[in-house]
Symmetry: D2
Subunit: 265 residues, 4 copies
């Protein structure tokens, strides 16, 4: 198996400088650690629990910021889209266009992303079984796009809670496309703070290690220099400065597992 | 409490004549039974399990058909929208614009519907707790629209299965808006047939009666003259000719419960 | 269908006088309302969340109390057993011996109860699917006992929560034995108070009505003159004096539903 | 952290020779691999799905066999008990007495095991939240026994399915006692074959690796030389000859994780 890819960045673009600082930090760190890296940041959070929550700079300004960062740092960029009219503009600059989990069943959105994006990251809905993702993959393939990633981010488990069923990782891999584990959204407690989602940041390291041990192609993490002050998803974001140690462990597990002959890959 | 309202119709507009026939049948039946009636039909099924499934006539033709039926029969009409650009056209003719369950967390869609629609039906996502609906209601209210319906349609329960937690009905009613029970989508087995959702039509009557006994403001049913040949959601649609008896029972339970003094309403 | 039976009483025998008072109250009420009645009280709560919780007077003293009440009031009695050695003594006096939900998979216990008890009430485990109960029924039948009741009391739904899947009631009825709905244990929040289970008493009336509307043979309720001071399961027990009104509604729904011809029974 | 312990053996004692062969194989393997080992075999399966299933040789003969194997091979032995009267006899010879998951809430059984057993393995019920185990630990401690193991074996997830919530492992470890991951029961599909539980043997290796990566004190595995012919739990038992490679991977992950400084242990 190929070594683990890291998809990481802040939940949302808070401002250009901070976003660039995070991207630069992550680029340096992954260069040093020899980890393939894709920078992730959202220009719009269209599905916040509360209508009053911060959403980001919007499509125009957000894409401008991501373009500048991409040009300056020479890193691939991933972001998510929420309606068909955003896709053309977003796909121009993005290396990977992401289908949000809540929107993974919207046929038109999926097809238009498939048609216009270089690569597509399908986030598995919290309401889907692993095998249900095949139908979404088919929708992407029907547009002739085979550059597909599939991301696990937890499944509804009672109210205001998610559980990661790690059996899903090998089941998803059987479809033949790289499987990413989104460790920070998987510890969300949806709606768990009344007007915002809670999160269990302390559980992210465990689940990252578990996923690497099961066998994944990539890891998705939301990070922030100061998650307590983050404008979005702070409770489940990782501290930037915790990354070197966490990634080092995960990378070791990934290497160990992919070097074994017992039928994982 | 006011007597139960019925929202019913085919899952999708198959053709004008068949759709009109269903509407006419339902209008006559509900007139005879003295049940307030809203006709429901979708012009586009944007989130079918498979990309190959029938989706409907589309916005333009669909709204034209619904407008003609509305004009001829003089009945209020409900349909669902899936993207912002549909809303203006749809809201012109529709009496109630419905937010689909998978889309209930999309802030822009919810707000635009709230801004343009006469009345809004919020379908509770399969991934939401009853109390999470408050945040969606707030998004609608923030646009100055107070004509809100909230619809229960089941909650994710393991894989390819839904469960109706009937505690949700009184919890939702506490928010102060009419609560509808969608009995036919509640028996879906999402993705349960591989490339389509299965359904347990035989469970609809039980769940309808249960909801009426708990206490609801309205009942939502998908019906078809021949569900085995329906182009969408056949396995969970009711046979049209089963309706008179089923509605009669439900109406009796509704009346019985709403006449009691034991604190239901 | 036959009219609804009521199985009711306190969670646990607190003392003889209080237990007798409750039994007397229930006997009078059900006589007046013409509802067949079985008195329920446990002599030992062997599976309390905490080891420090009150458990009851124990087998010897408890059976003595139940025998006296049975003799004086002439009412049938149901209680639960927790180990094989209790069964012989308990079965002498009890009309129905109940298998607790946590113990429903213990083959020896089930068989010994089947062998010795006049009638057996199988509580469906919180961890079972409705169709799994068939295997337990087979174990009872294998001892030649066909006087079987099956009781629904909710299913695990995430952590510290239960949900009632009302589809289970018709599924259980298909097995051919009377189906009881335990409305008060169904609203437990298992372990939800740290060292005790919480409960949602306010949800009992809704669920009772729902079950009657779906169609059941009997209703199981734990009641107490002052649930706030009850030594066991207070949070989900009903106030005794709320019963007349609640039962009257449920009885009306039961009668209405059983008189319909639409295929319920 | 101390190196991983292995608890392994057949689901049930089929006959003395086969059981001894398995124990010998496991002893040799774990000696070579320098893995601390406890042999596991049940003398009675008291909670089989069907009453017709094979249960084992029973207490008397079973304990005799285990005693002989223990004497000959000099290995510690774990087995489970199902009623109070078995405990004294079983505890004489067993090094660890196990509380079955379905019985973990039975206060008398837990206390009597605590009183008589050298060490107690609490299997977490499929219906419990991780934090609910504290109350069971308290019941054991109340008898003065502090030699406690806690075993995760999956949680009810919809019908006929379990999910392992790997967040439970660090939560359970906070209680201060060694945490074991039962990889083979965690892939059971309870009641999934109608009259027997199904299982997903192919998922065991993934979940073993995940658990080792999260951080555990021990691993529990049911093994058989020919699982397709096993008299109990074949579908989720591992082939004996798959063990060397699987354990080698898990041991490497365990060592890697326990040598890291990032706050796992």
């Amino acid at each position: 198996g190929s070594p683990l890819v890291l998809i990481a960045g802040p939940c949302v673009i808070e401002d250009e400088e901070r976003t660039r600082d995070i991207a630069l930090y992550l680029k340096k760190l992954t260069d040093e650690m020899d980890i393939p890296f894709i920078f992730k940041a959202s220009y719009d959070k269209a599905n916040r629990t509360s209508g009053k929550a911060y959403r980001g700079p919007g499509l125009e300004r957000g894409i401008e910021i991501l373009k500048a960062i991409k040009g300056d740092l020479g890193i691939p960029i991933l972001s998510d889209v929420h309606s068909r009219e955003e896709i053309e503009k977003a796909a121009e600059i993005l290396d990977v266009v992401q289908i949000p989990a809540f929107l993974c069943r919207q046929t038109d959105l999926v097809r238009e992303v498939a048609r216009l994006a270089r690569a597509v990251n399908i986030k598995k809905g919290q309401f889907l079984a692993p095998w249900d993702v095949r139908n979404i993959i088919e929708k992407v393939l029907s547009e002739g796009n085979e550059r597909i990633l599939v991301t696990e981010r937890g499944t509804s488990f009672g109210y205001n809670n998610l559980v990661v069923d790690f059996r899903s990782l090998p089941l998803l891999r059987r479809e033949g496309y790289p499987v990413i584990f989104d460790a920070t959204h998987s510890v969300q407690l949806p709606g768990g703070q009344g007007t915002a989602s809670g999160g269990q940041r302390e559980m992210v390291p465990c689940l990252m290690r578990a996923a690497a041990a099961v066998g994944i192609d990539g890891l998705f993490l939301e990070v922030h220099p100061d998650p307590e002050k983050a404008l979005c998803d702070g409770p489940n974001s990782l501290y930037l400065d915790a990354l070197p140690e966490l990634l080092s462990t995960v990378k070791s597990i990934d290497r160990l597992v992919k070097n074994r002959a017992d039928g994982i890959f």
